[in-house]
Amino acid sequence: MSFVFYAIAGLTLAGALAAVLLKNTVHCALALTVAFAGLALLFLELDAQFAGFAQILVYIGAVAVLVVFAILLTRGSETPKDGVYSRNWLAGLVIAAGVFAVLGWAVLGSARSLPHETAAPTVTVLQIGNALMSRYVLPLEIVALLLTAALIGAVIVAMHEKEGQK
């Protein structure tokens, strides 16, 4: 387990924690971007170049900006009056801890049987292109359709109603 992995993992987890714990919503959004960047680096660490760059392009490029826009549009940037966490936050925390315990236990339990070091697969964009066009052409079309629908849906949902129609 190389030092780089620990650094990047630390960065991502720190970003994630900040995103969850910070008071100011915009700071949370920025922390989220850090977490996304960390993840992209993890992807690159796992030799998934295309996924990494896609992650950066999609998440940092689009989703982060979207989140920030949403925060500004819903006046989230002012710190909320009655506390940041919901009333019974402890229950949430406990449940999250429980989930992590189970997942952790599952991972550690099966750690021995997981495959060890394997050769880094060299994946060229050409291969990905071919795979997309041959084996995954149906998912590709469906995702295309989904994205268009989401595009139109999001626009309609967030569209400003016409005057007079409150």
């Binding site: 100011n24 915009v26 700071h27 920025l30 971007t33 992209a40 170049q49 295309f50 760059f53 896609a54 950066i56 392009l57 940092i60 490029g61 689009a62 982060a64 900006v65 920030v68 826009f69 500004l72 940037s77 060229t124 964009v125 050409l126």
Partner: protein, 391 residues
Amino acid sequence: MIETADQIFVLLKHWLVGFLPAGWQPVAGVALSVVAIIAFFPALFALTVWIERKGLGRMQNRIGPNRVGPLGILQPVADAIKSLTKEDIVPLSADAAVHFLAPLLLVAAVFMGFAVLPMGRNMTLVNMDAGLLFYFAMGASTELAVFMAGWSSRNKYSLLGAMRAVAQMISYEVPLLMSSVAVVMMTGSLSLTKIVAAQNHYTWGLPHWYIFTPWGFAGFVMYAIATTAETNRSPFDLPEGESELVAGYHTEYSGFKFALFFLGEYLAMFSISGLGATLFLGGWSAPFSFLGWVPSWIWFFSKLMLSIFVFIWMRGTLPRLRQDQLMNFAWKFVLPLTLLNLLVAALWRFLGEGWERWVVCLAILLLAYAFMGREGMRRGHLGPRRYRYAE
């Protein structure tokens, strides 16, 4: 001789790296290239600032800076010293951390872009398989930096400027990508070196640059428009919009941070035009076969400076677009045309050699341009201004 001239920098690097122990050499090589880029491009920035101010002056029939040094050549040095020595004022209500981080993130992101540009024959810092994708990924993070700048200074004008900038950059990022996708489709690879290699052969002395193909030329035009918008330059420099928004998102910045923003902007210009050169103008390939002897990096930088000149030229001549016109133009003209361009590129590829593909592609593009331009834009006639206030 020509070879050494062409590969002068590569040889230099290898020569310098040779002094280090073997283990360190690859890392040192990379570090050396990075240092070279970081050194050269800010210098070029200084030069461009001077060119721009002298050029604009000449265009507006005035002399431009000539006090500092002969012909004002030292004017950028003076500016640099001025920005360094100016007091760095941070507004009290500003969000200190984000305020400080914004310019850094911007400059870092733009510098990252240079890593994949093939400045000369085998003079690419990192010859990445998905080079173009990496470049656009880095490009995408600049918007966030702009937003951070605008929001953190807690100033209505800066926030408004930031919002306009982000909206504009997002709107034009899509056409930027789409036009470059056409090139990728034709070369079949995302790596920039392969793209240059694909353009680097000649028939009857004329190079196979993509710009000389119908879809290439349309792609280049769309690309040029998108780049000017991406870098908030000239007709699209609404965010700065000196007349209304003071200095846009970097109003609250002063001193060195302001200089950084300025540097970031020019670096973005260099890298985006460098990419344009690689994609459409054949990167470091010579314009004519018989000029092959000239070192490759000279061609790259000359094409780069050519587009910079065009930027400056546009800044001096074209009026500023209004925000809704700008958005309309992006989503209703540029994007459809780039998509059409993709179709035309596909047609071009499968129609095979021969004059028919020229006629067909040209016909489609011209027709679309005429029809789209005439019909699309008319709808946007200048109706009465409708003000809508934020809720």
